[in-house]
Structure formats: C-alpha cells, structure tokens
C-alpha cells in the first residue's frame, strides 16, 4: 500500500516504466502494492474469496499485457480498479451461465460454519464477514471503489480523486455518504462487536 502520496505516485511511474522495459520483478512489486486493493474490489462484487483471488490474478495478468496502453502511469491504481471491475463482470456473467447450465444454486449464508474467520481478524465470524461484504456490495459502485481505496488501500481523498479522475470534493462527499450508509447498516454488528 502506498505510504506517501508523492512517493507512491513516483514509484508507480517508475515501476511501470521498468516493467515496460522488460523487468518482470517490477511488476511483482506492483502486484504486492495493489494486491489487497484488487482482491477487496473483487470481493465487493463476488461472494467467493477464492474466486475473488482468481479474478485478482487475472486482472493483474490483463494489466500486464495491456500495460503499454496505460496513458498515465501515475493513475495506475484507478486503472487497475477499472480492469478489476471489468473482470468481475466477466466472471459473474460466466458464473451465471454455468449455474444456469448446471442447475446449481449458491449456498445460503446460514450454512456457513460459525468458526472464527482468520487469524488477522479474530473478532469476526464468517457470518459477520459475509454480512459486512454483503453490506458493502449493496453500496453504489462509485462509492464502493472509493471506500475500498480509502479503507483498504489507505489512499487519501486527493489520491483517490487523482486515480479515479474526479474532483477531491466529489470524492469527499462520496466517502461521507458511503460511510453514513455503512454506519447505518452495520450498526447492529458494530454494537455486537463492541460488546465482546
């Protein structure tokens, strides 16, 4: 994740140039930097974490093959987010088609076990994580991308605005609205977690 806006932007441009010169390791650094953001974006569209990681991998491969088409390397994160969303749509279309062909149905949330989710997040159960993901999924896509870039990729408002080609004021308003929606919908969960 970018530590400083200026440093991150410079590093992105350098990494892109280096990758275009044939240095694959530089692209590895790009993947490391934006892996969590891309997976989070995928998880905000699909429910299966394994599928989300597959989408993330495919998104990075597509980004690699099309890197020469990136006009402004300083907007790498925004470009990656668009590719990821596109890959998610493609994946969802395929999944729907396969499920229709096979007559399958998605497993309901109630069937998920109640065991704690991950070592990194001992406070939330799988059900609670699914609930949070579903709540995020219900957000409008423009808010979803902003919230993920802010909370997961730790980008500032100015950085998000630069990456998405929007004005900082628009991003700020979007973040506030998204926060209020999440705050309202996740209020029971927040209370539950606070009591633990």
């Amino acid at each position: 994740m970018p530590e400083s806006p200026v440093m991150a932007t410079d590093a992105d441009e350098q990494l892109v140039k280096s990758t275009l010169r044939g240095n694959v390791a530089s692209f590895g650094t790009i993947v490391e930097r934006y892996w969590n953001m891309v997976v989070a974006l995928a998880l905000s569209k699909v429910s299966d974490p394994a599928e989300a990681e597959d989408i993330a991998q495919e998104s990075f491969l597509k980004a690699y093959s099309q890197l020469s088409g990136l006009r402004d390397p300083s907007r790498l994160a925004g470009w990656l987010s668009k590719i990821t969303m596109q890959q998610c749509s493609n994946s969802l279309r395929k999944t729907v088609r396969y499920k229709k062909a096979l007559g399958c149905r998605t497993a309901p949330i109630e069937t998920l076990d109640e065991q704690p989710a991950m070592a990194a997040n001992p406070g939330l159960t799988q059900n609670q994580i699914q609930f949070v993901r579903q709540t995020i999924r219900r957000l409008p896509e423009k808010f979803r991308t902003m919230i993920i870039m802010r909370f997961v990729a730790n980008c500032s408002t100015v950085q998000i605005a630069e990456q998405l080609g929007k004005r900082p004021g628009t991003v700020r308003v979007g973040l506030h609205r998204a926060y209020k929606l999440l705050h309202k919908d996740l209020a029971p969960l927040l209370e539950e977690v606070e009591q633990l």
Binding site: T19, L20, V24, A25, F27, G28, T29, I30, V31, E32, R33, W35, N36, V39, A40, L43, S44, P49, A52, E53, A56, Q57, F60, L61, Y64, S65, Q66, L67, S68, G69, R71, M118, A120, N121, L124, I129, V132, R133, I136, I147, I148, R150, F151, V152, N154, C155, S156, T157, V171, R172, L175, H176, Y179, L182, H183, L186, L189, L190, V193, E194
Partner: protein, 249 residues
Amino acid sequence: MNCEKNKKIILKLVDGTISDEQLNELKTHTETCESCRVEFERCVLLQDIVKHSLSSQTAAEQAGAAQVARLSEGPNLRMRPVRYGTALFAGRRAAIAAGILLAIGLFLGFTMGRVGNPGQIHLTAKVPISAGKIEGIVLVRHEGSDIWQPLDAGSNIYLGDMFHSTARSACVLKLDDESTLDLNQNSTLILKSYACPEPGRRNGQTQFFLEHGECTASLESHHGPFFINTPNGRMEALGTEFTVKVTDE
C-alpha cells in the same frame, strides 16, 4: 471543542484529511465526552471491519512472487507492443478516416460517372453528321473511350470520334443533305470540330484529322470553312470536291 465540530472531524478521519493536531484534539475531547468517544471508536472499528472483511487470504508478497513466476514461465503471456505516443495513434485513426473518405469518394465518383456519362459518349457533343453507306468493316471510337465499335449506317456521330476503315472497307459520312466525306480503305480519321452549315447559325469551322489513308470531300458552297489536317500539313477546301491522301511515303 463542541460535539458538532467533533462530528466534522470524525468525517475528516473518514476521508483521510484529518491533521495530527485535529486528531489529538479529538482524542482529548473523547476522554470527557461519552457520545463522541463511541462515535470515534465506531468510526475506527468500521474501518477495521471493512478492511478485514475484504482482506485476501493470500499475502501480498506471496501473490506478487506468484505473478512474477507465472509471467516468467508463461510463454503465452506477452506484453502488447508499446504505443509510440498519442500522435501515432491519432495518425492511424486519421489514416483510417481518410481511407474511408477516399473509398466513399471513389464510389460516388464511379457511380456519378456511370450515371452521367454512360460509355463516356456524352463527353463530347453530338453533331448532325451521320454515317451513310458502309462497305466492309468500319470502326468508330468515341473520345475518352478505349472501345472500338463497328460503325453502322445511320449511326450518330460525336465530336472527337475516330473512324478506322479496314482493308477493302469504306464509308460515307453525311455532313449535311448535300455534303459528304468518303473514307477509303485502311484510313483513320478524327472529327476535331464542326461548324453548323446553316448561314444564320454558322460559327467556327469544320476540321477533320486524317491520320492515315485517304478521304474525299464533296462540299456544297454554303458550307463553312472546312479543313482536313494531316500529319504533314493542313488543307482547306476551296473547291467543291477534293481528295486528301496520307501515306507512309
């Protein structure tokens, strides 16, 4: 610090524009204000919850290494060639647009040409000369066309027409009711210009070009200036009948 201002600072925490000084002020305020403390803690918790709910099971370093390995090994994964700037991209688009316009222009030109000038016949004006008696095979080619057509008796004649009589062939061109031009065998004649024979409408002169062979003109007196050009010289009709012959000698 009042609670209303505190709420605005919490929103700054959300959008990441909060300064260290504001954060410290907020923390100090939450020590004494229970509602603001709850709000502040919920904001931080919500951010953590969102981050952890959307976290990957694979570490970023591991994912990066896996991608590098895949790209290094996969021979099918090739980067697309670098585009050399927007100018070339725009140039390519302009070239495509120019090509389309050229194709449309050619198509329209061809269509209008076909409609307006069928067989290129009307490139020149029709003249009141007609083909009379024809012996053997006499060919005619209209100006602007590459096609030789057999000349039939009574055919219309146009300015610029080229006549060619083959061996043992001859034809008569009726210039008007009483004037004729006989084209003998193995001759090539071109109608260069034509003057109206009527005295009131007479203008210009009638000119033929005898490239090769022999022709005989029989003219009435009211006919306008009449010339037969040859590669070797120009003859004007003064009498009523004369013969012009062009040979290789």
